[in-house]
Homo-oligomer: 370 residues x 2
């Protein structure tokens, strides 16, 4: 079962852009942070081609925010990630893995610094709010944590700057990568960051009043025709080509940051207290026994597995499993992420994948799929 | 949009019974604790009629377990709920709302006491594991918390005892309500409790080895023909008739236990420390301004809303909103749960509901829909 029907209820929360997303052709969804997240408009491949050539508007409300505000805000943020957040300026975003006291990954959010003592944690699919609430209660910290009425909408694709310059003004071209400004669209104040879950460039626009979702969406679409704008969504093919991992698929609480290359986003030993310090220092010294790699699978397009495909070495021994996969038109091969034993991680290593269409040869690739 | 297509990925975790559920006709799902949960087999109404007359086997793996084990296990469990868990014997289950330091509901699980110092929290749809991990870290408690390899399968319906007596033996008839035994089915050890998310009687069987899901399912089905067993799932009509709330729909973190009648499961002032003590005592003294009620809506069956319908008083003022609804063949009316202002909660109160088919008259009912 790779797809089926879904039944919605109030528990799977309505998004402020959902009506427009459905009207404009969202025909399949996933569920992410207890909210629907569009997965397909025309088809995975047509959505991909359009995204790489034009510009799309995405309902990514499911990237929920955890707001952290008060005297202990920075101390709390520092505590939950090994990344040095003291270097994050107001107006800046940092991608920062949240790591527990055993080294397990809780989430891999973008953290936005709104003020010296105020942050948004823009989360992947796990209830970070509950974890942070537990820590704050247990420690008796002086900070409030809550989910604000904030819903991101993304504009992604190579024509994003041209479109948004027309919507807001030429100043959007000056927003640097992972920086944000506060501005107004359709009469509602938004935070607009140069960021997003693709490698095609663009912005994430944080709506702060869910009653204005349709207004915001329509204001952007009203300028879209010249840029061939259409509705879209995070695309599996594009994220694999770009090398973007998905929490829950490619890494879970069972993994530590070294196993999936997240250690490149921090250096151990920042000054502030962080809960994963002892665990990460130990793992760093001992080394890891498995790692997530880029694995190119030979042959025609294969149907992705419901859960995983096993990965074998040349002798037929199981050395790991696939976590995400899709056929890439650009590389004319199936791209996958796979967790494999440390002895099989060197680019160029020949492996095999047990698919539902039989054994397929595969090879470990570098970060750029070469 | 009340339904659409869903795309699965590894992030929406495979259940041990999923293959059988799909083969036996699950045709729509919801997502619950990052896992698919079947929602419909034949139709909501046909599933309901069968459940009330025969016996069904349900894949409720999505009721994940949080295991709490170690010297501080009882202290931790006591800390997170106002219910007095010291009274819970080994072999007993208790329904216990988890409540934070502000009085907000985190989840409404069943808690199973496996040993003096070992519990399972059998959760509704929120990441209780992360909340509990945060508390344990923050407090430095001596207890381990983790998600074990445990997946519940439910057998529900009036013929459950007859079926399970044939599968296991006559001793199942002696299991008291909310008590459990340890036994073996299809060569795998299971915990079997008299419990479940319906009012039709039956059991929840906790599989402890996910590689044995199909074996367990088939062993039960092999005895099913005489009882007209078929695959099913928690049913919206039946749960409304029985008065079972759903976390995320009928109550959220924004609600306190007094607002949704969960206060009947505890008395304030238990001996052990619990984090919600001050908040709940204050709310109990001040009273609440709104409450969840049973609301019967007149007229023909109505399509349930994507999120909510507004509830008006006789003067047309908005007094609340619907949280769940379905047409009940038994009561020949649409049953709903609605959160309404405290002045509109008395059974017999006449209200109106703003549906997509216009205004409908409605009346507040008692717990038994009378």
């Amino acid at each position: 079962m790779s797809s089926s029907h879904i039944v919605f209820s109030r528990r799977l929360r309505l998004t402020p852009f959902e009506q427009r997303a459905v009207e404009q052709g969202a025909k399949a969804f996933t569920v992410y942070n207890h909210m629907p997240l569009p997965s397909v408009y025309q088809s995975l491949e047509e959505d991909y081609r359009h995204l790489c050539n034009h510009v799309q508007i995405w309902d990514v409300s499911a990237e929920r925010q955890v707001e952290v505000k008060g005297p202990d805000a920075l101390a709390l943020i520092e505590l939950i990630t090994p990344r040095d957040i003291s270097r994050c300026q107001v107006g800046q975003c940092m991608y920062a893995p949240l790591v527990d006291e055993s080294g397990g990954i809780i989430n891999d959010p973008l953290i936005l610094r709104l003020a010296d003592d105020r942050f948004w944690i823009s989360i992947a699919d796990s209830d970070v709010l509950l974890w942070v609430k537990g820590i704050v209660f247990g420690r008796g910290m002086d900070v409030s944590v809550f989910e604000p009425d904030v819903s991101p909408l993304a504009v992604q694709g190579p024509k994003s700057d041209d479109l948004m310059a027309e919507v807001i003004g030429p100043e959007v071209r000056d927003i640097r990568f992972f920086r944000f400004i506060e501005t107004e669209i359709a009469g509602t104040r938004v935070i607009m960051a140069r960021s997003g879950w693709s490698g095609q460039g663009g912005f994430e626009i944080y709506l702060q009043d869910s009653s204005k979702g349709t207004d915001l969406w329509d204001a952007i679409c009203s300028k879209g025709e010249a840029y061939n704008l259409r509705a879209g969504c995070p695309n599996l093919i594009e994220r694999l080509e770009t090398g973007l991992m998905s929490y829950g698929s490619d890494m879970t609480l069972e993994n530590n940051p070294f196993e999936c290359g997240l250690d490149r986003f921090f250096t151990l030993g920042k000054e502030a207290e962080y809960m994963s310090r002892d665990a990460l220092e130990r793992i760093s010294t001992e080394g890891v026994s498995k790692k997530l790699v880029n694995l190119a699978i030979d042959g025609d397009s294969i149907t992705a597995p419901r859960s995983t495909f096993d990965v074998l070495d040349q002798g037929g021994g199981c050395v790991g499993y696939v976590t995400s996969m899709a056929y890439s038109p650009k590389y004319a091969t199936t791209l996958s992420f796979a967790t494999v034993d440390i002895g099989s991680t060197v680019p160029g290593t020949s492996l095999q994948v047990v698919t539902d269409q039989g054994l397929r040869s595969a090879s470990v690739r570098g970060a750029d799929w070469q």
